[in-house]
């Protein structure tokens, strides 16, 4: 079964700092990859997704992620964070060539941006 690892549990940054959150998955077949974000008091919402093609995908609010198949990674980046980016970020994977058709989530990274 596939699994997702997020190694950064809690990240604290100052505004304008650059962000990179790590995500690794364990599955050798074809996958779709996602980053979801949960702002304080709000529901989980999609930040960006990778299905195929260009491994560098851009999402909302200036976020981007790069899929590196050889490293089984899908790291999230943002060049300059804002206070409003304070949230919890979840990486998720779906294995397309299995019978299981649900997302598997990582444990999440809590990002705190200080003004």
């Amino acid at each position: 079964a596939q699994s997702v690892s997020q190694h950064n549990h809690h990240v604290i940054l100052s505004e304008a700092a650059s962000l990179e959150l790590g995500c690794n998955y364990s599955y050798g077949g074809t996958v779709n990859l996602f980053w979801y974000v949960q702002y304080p008091g709000q529901h989980l919402q999609l930040l960006l997704k990778y299905f195929s093609g260009d491994p560098l995908v851009k999402g909302i609010k200036g976020f981007e992620a790069e899929f590196i198949k050889s490293k089984f990674s899908f790291n999230l980046r943002k060049p300059s964070v804002q206070w409003s980016d304070t949230a919890e970020y979840f990486c998720a994977v779906i294995a397309l060539d299995t019978g299981r058709r649900a997302l598997t989530f990582g444990s999440g990274t809590r990002l705190q941006v200080q003004p």
Partner: protein
């Protein structure tokens, strides 16, 4: 477009009591999921429905948890009897189709359960 609706938002019960959560997915979404999110962890799938049939319930503790999706729309998740370790947020999500799913899910705000 209306999102995924869940109720209640909060519930506090004592152990061994029962509780039920309700979910109304986005209109037209054939697939419905229940996830459990324990504090400090990522969401974990409990059960997945395609229309009113179960696709995956391999991680559902069937001795105490049950779920149904009548008429392929609304769904109810029940816990009976509840244990302390069931304290979590129960998330409902929906998507257009699981058969050719891209995996993109739309989540409700969740139902937070506290078991004392």
């Amino acid at each position: 477009e209306a999102g995924v609706a869940q109720s209640p938002r909060y519930k506090i019960i004592e152990k061994r009591q029962s509780v039920a959560f309700w979910c109304n997915p986005i209109s037209g979404h054939a697939t419905l999921y229940w996830y459990q999110q324990i504090l400090g962890q990522g969401p974990k799938l409990l059960i997945q429905f395609q229309n009113n049939g179960v696709v995956d319930d391999s991680q559902l503790p069937k001795d105490r948890f049950s779920a149904e999706r009548l008429k392929g729309v609304d769904s109810t998740l029940k816990i009976q009897p509840a244990k302390l370790e069931d304290s979590a947020v129960y998330l409902c999500a929906s998507s257009l189709s699981s058969g050719r799913s891209t995996g993109e899910l739309f989540f409700g705000e969740g139902s937070r359960l506290t078991v004392l």
